[in-house]
Amino acid sequence: MHAVFNFVRGPMAGIAFAVFIIGCLYQMASMWRLARKKDAVVFHYFSLFYALRSIIHWMVPFAALNMRRHPVMTGVTFVFHLCLFAVPFFLSSHAILFKESWDVSWAWLPDGIADIMTLAVMGACLFFLGRRIFLREVRYLTTVSDVLILFCVALPFFSGFWAGQQWPGFPVMTLVHMISGEILLMLIPFTRLRHMLFFPVIRGYMGSEFGAVRRARDW
């Protein structure tokens, strides 16, 4: 138990952060190289103004036509992504772990609010799963990896909630939480979760082409 904890809390956390950061840098560099090779013209018409215009429009709920066409999906996905980012950084236990390890600290969320946000993440994962099962046009595009990724995202939240509530078996669940969280972090650069990195790049690309070349909107 202590040996596993010490490893997961120490070296494995370091490895997970390193793989995440180096993996992200590698992905961005290879995307850059690919663009240079296949679509070099984008570097000429890239415009920071139109890039930011597109990024901001796609970060505001219901600001794009496609979001207004799918209001439920839009609502769920915005709540999901907000909670997905906020809880890992602003949960009191996590903030304290950052403080312990690196002596940096920031304000944290009340535990009750963080609990609700965690439930929201899990609820949204169920919604996405249901969508993949019951919507024909989505089911058609769904592969096993889509379902596995949803599971990988939900597991740290599920086990973290369990550990936080101290339900039976919570010590093991705490270890499951730490390990699944670290695995998820390492998966981000190498699975479709890298849309986290590429979202601004793709929107910047589209925004530049639509704004600076076609003189049109891309939202």
Partner: protein
């Protein structure tokens, strides 16, 4: 009219007062880790049986936990018994409550991790009742 008898109540009150005072001053068995600086506790307080813990852990020197520092150096043979942790680890410029929490966690869970004995997970110390 029945006369109000104060003596039995006074006696009973004295017994509680005495018991309370003894409990407060007895260092034999601290039930809960207490620090006045924790006004609003985020997590449940930590149960801690002082003597049983030290016997099990083989700690004889008070200064091992109640450490005393001067100019960043740990003072061997000196201790800080009777002081609250927050007197050094909280309230100085640039220090927040997170610094006090950090001091407690590194002191307790840090030692447990090194010795591979005792609780290290959040919920193992901060037990919900």
């Amino acid at each position: 009219m029945k006369k109000f008898k104060i003596l039995p109540y006074a006696a009973l009150f004295s017994v509680f007062l005495l018991a309370g005072t003894m409990a407060a001053f007895a260092q034999e068995n601290i039930e809960i880790v207490h620090d006045a600086a924790f006004e609003n506790q985020t997590r449940p307080p930590v149960a801690f049986a002082h003597d049983a813990h030290n016997e099990k852990a083989g700690i004889d020197d008070c200064g091992e936990c109640h450490h005393a520092y001067a100019d960043g150096e740990k003072q061997m043979g000196d201790d800080s018994v009777g002081m609250e942790c927050s007197q050094c680890h909280y309230g100085k410029p640039g220090q927040g409550v997170a610094d006090l929490i950090r001091a407690y966690h590194l002191q307790c869970a840090g030692c447990h991790g090194e010795r591979k004995a005792g609780p290290v997970l959040c919920g193992e110390c901060h037990r919900r009742r």
